[in-house]
Every structure is written in structure tokens, then in C-alpha cells.
Symmetry: C2
Subunit: 235 residues, 2 copies
């Protein structure tokens, strides 16, 4: 069975969307697009969404700290480390057999993603609004889950088979998974900007009993990728 | 002239002190002591406060990303990297010619620091309560600043001479310095714990116009050290 992995970009002041987020002009809030710039320029992202080119913006992606929590699993020559962030995203897409997102993220994304969404696997949408499942071109399907986050994770896990479940956000869905002991891994892309408001990933009510083990840190000039293994409190 | 450098430990959910902080039993709030464990075990910290031994807990401190924002300035052999975090703290103490702290941190610390505080340089305390300056043993002095954070930074800068000013906290003092364009560098020690409440370093009112450039990332299993150059908005 695969793992359940949440992955999201967060500003240094803790926000995963800027102020005044909503459908329309500001899908991720004021300034929120700055959270995702690093990703849109990666070769792996551009390949996934069907664009040519791209490439690690700075050529400086760098892997620091191995799965053992202290080793070094990157070569020391600068050139070899080019594209580490891109490789991480490529692996993330390749290993994901199903995706879980929230209703707000779905509403924001659906018009943009079009007839051939970039996911190419079943996507489960946590929502309160009944809607029929729908197959899209290229392998993506929309599947609407009405009975809560645990059910959504269970359905996505079943669909993913041996592959992982990618919990892509928004922040509320990831927080709910974390609080419910449903995550195996949390990947934060920490972006050195201040948004000054919006949607926090961690509200004032995070559970101090959730155990996080920092397993890997990869830095590029515009972002630091932080990997944490979650010790599920209830599993 | 030296630089003005803020340095503080923050939980993954953004807190620099846990819930219910106050003088007495919980100087840094419930669970807040977990923020500083990584530091108390460093050889450099123990040397500064006059204890023997110590050492990088995990032997895995690892430097990723140079001042150029993308290079690698650590050797690749594991043994060479032992104590990177310790070396960073040693350099931080050595380069600090004056220290700036808030009144709450001072109140919490004064009984603990005793007659020979570990700072060994002039310490400026931002406060509203008049109190006479006081010289302690070993080079530390207490100097109370009543007329605001800009004045405190100016006085500390004058006292530091060619060396740096270390803004050690708490969070409110660092936030005030950041907002007022008084910081040259921000160093965050990001600890993989959730505190679930307490004092946030970044409230909902951080200024999105503050420019941060990520210049260095050093990871150890229990903490990631993040260095940001601040582009002072008003300087």
C-alpha cells in the first residue's frame, strides 16, 4: 500500500493562501501566486501540464539531509544538483496514484484545468455538494466525497493501489488529515515571502501531540523543501 | 559597522513561545522548552554558558546553500559536517558586540542568568519601565531603553562597534524590528513540533513589502536553520 503524502507551499509567515482569496481574480488570495512561482518554472511541472522547457530557475536546487535524517544524499558538485527540486516533483507525480483536494481548490481549479487536467489519476474532492463522478481526458477523473476526510483518504488509498495518495490542499484539507492521523508524510515548500494574512496551514489549534520527524531538507534560493514523517497518533 | 541580526527558534506552526507563557513555571509557555533543546546541546552554547561537553546531538548538522544562495559551502564527508550548527552559534556569539532583547525575555531570564550572565557584551532591554543600567560580571551589562525599538537598535549598534547586534527576541521585538526596517538578517531555527498556540513570530499583520532573500539553509534532524537577508524597506 502506498503512503498518504500532503504537499503544499507555505509563506514564511505561515499562509498557504493570501488575504481575500476566492474564486475569480484571486483564487489563492492577494499575493498568493508568489507561493507557487518556484513550481511553475520546474521542468517536471511543465512536463506534467504539457508545456515544453522550464527548468530549475536557479540551477541551485540542493539536497541536504537524507532519509536517515542526517546523511547527505546529494553529490557535492554543483552541476549534479541542478534540478533536484524538479526531480522531486517528477517523483511526486509519478508515485501518486490518486489525489485528494478540497472543494475550494477544486472550484478554483476546474475552469483552469479544462478537459484534460494535468493529474492523469483519479482525483477525490472533499465536499458537501453531491455531484456525479466524471471522467476527463488523459486519465483524470473527478470523484466527489461527501462523508468526510477519513472516507476520502480511504477511497483515494483504494484507488491508488500500490502508489501514493497526494493530498494537494488546500490548507484546511491538509490540516484535517494531519489532525485525524491520516498523513504519513508532510512536505512543505517554505517560500521566503510574507503574505500578512489569508489562510494559515496551522491555525492556533494544531495538536502538539502530532509527532513530526524531519527527514529531508532541500534548498533552492527561492524555496526550501521540508519533508516530515508523521507519526500517526491514531493509526 | 556591524549588521543587525535577529535569531530565534520557531515551531513549524509559527510559534516562538507556547500557550500560557509567563514568568515562573512557564517562561516560554507550555511545550516552549522544546523549541530550544537543539541549542542547549551544542558545544558552542555550553561553552558560552560555561558548561563542558555538549556537542551536536546528532552529528548530522549539514550546511546546504552558500551565501550566494545556491552554492555549497560544506564539505561532503559526514565527519567534517559534525557541529555545523554548533559552529554557527559560536560565530554568532563571537560576532555579536551587543544584544537587544525585550522586557518579557529579560524578566524571564534575569533570575536564571545570575551574576555572570552568558552574554559578555552590553545587553539592551526594550521596556517601558525606567531602571538604572547595571554592569554584571564577565562583560555583560543591562541597559534599559525606554524610547522605542529604533532607539534601542541605534544604541546597540553604537555599542557593538564593528561587531553585529544580535536581536535575540522575543518574537514581538523581532517583529517590531522587521516591520521598522531595522534588520539586516533574520535567522530562524525551524523546529519540527506543533505548539498549537502561544506567541506567533508573524502575526496576521506582517508587511508583504518586506523583502527576504533566502541565503543559507543548514539542516540537522531536530532543526533547520534558515538564513534570510532582509531588504530594509525604509533604509
Amino acid at each position: 500500500m502506498g503512503r498518504v503524502i500532503a504537499d503544499i507551499s507555505m509563506s514564511l509567515d505561515g499562509f498557504v493562501a493570501g488575504p481575500d482569496d476566492g474564486p475569480g481574480d484571486l483564487p489563492i488570495g492577494r499575493g498568493g501566486e508568489r507561493l507557487h512561482r518556484w513550481m511553475f518554472e520546474l521542468a517536471s511541472w511543465r512536463a506534467q501540464v504539457g508545456k515544453d522547457g522550464g527548468g530549475d530557475r536557479d540551477g541551485g536546487g540542493q539536497n541536504s539531509g537524507g532519509e536517515d535524517g542526517g546523511g547527505q544524499d546529494s553529490a557535492s558538485a554543483g552541476a549534479v544538483q541542478n534540478g533536484v527540486a524538479s526531480d522531486l516533483m517528477e517523483e511526486y507525480f509519478r508515485r501518486s496514484g490518486a489525489i485528494l483536494i478540497g472543494r475550494r481548490m477544486f472550484d478554483h481549479g476546474e475552469p483552469v484545468w479544462g478537459d484534460e487536467p494535468p493529474f492523469r489519476v483519479p482525483v477525490f474532492v472533499l465536499t458537501h455538494r453531491p455531484r456525479a463522478a466524471e471522467a476527463k481526458r488523459g486519465g483524470t477523473s473527478w470523484n466527489f466525497v461527501l462523508d468526510g476526510v477519513a472516507s476520502a483518504v480511504a477511497q483515494a488509498t483504494a484507488a491508488a493501489g500500490e502508489r501514493d495518495v497526494a493530498v494537494m490542499g488546500g490548507g484546511q484539507v491538509i490540516s484535517a488529515c494531519l489532525a485525524a492521523g491520516l498523513l504519513d508524510e508532510l512536505r512543505l515548500h517554505l517560500v521566503p515571502i510574507l503574505l500578512g494574512g489569508g489562510v494559515r496551514l496551522f491555525a492556533d489549534s494544531a495538536d502538539p501531540a502530532v509527532g513530526l520527524e524531519q527527514t529531508r531538507v532541500v534548498s533552492s534560493p527561492g524555496v526550501t523543501h521540508l519533508f516530515y514523517t508523521v507519526r500517526r497518533p491514531t493509526a
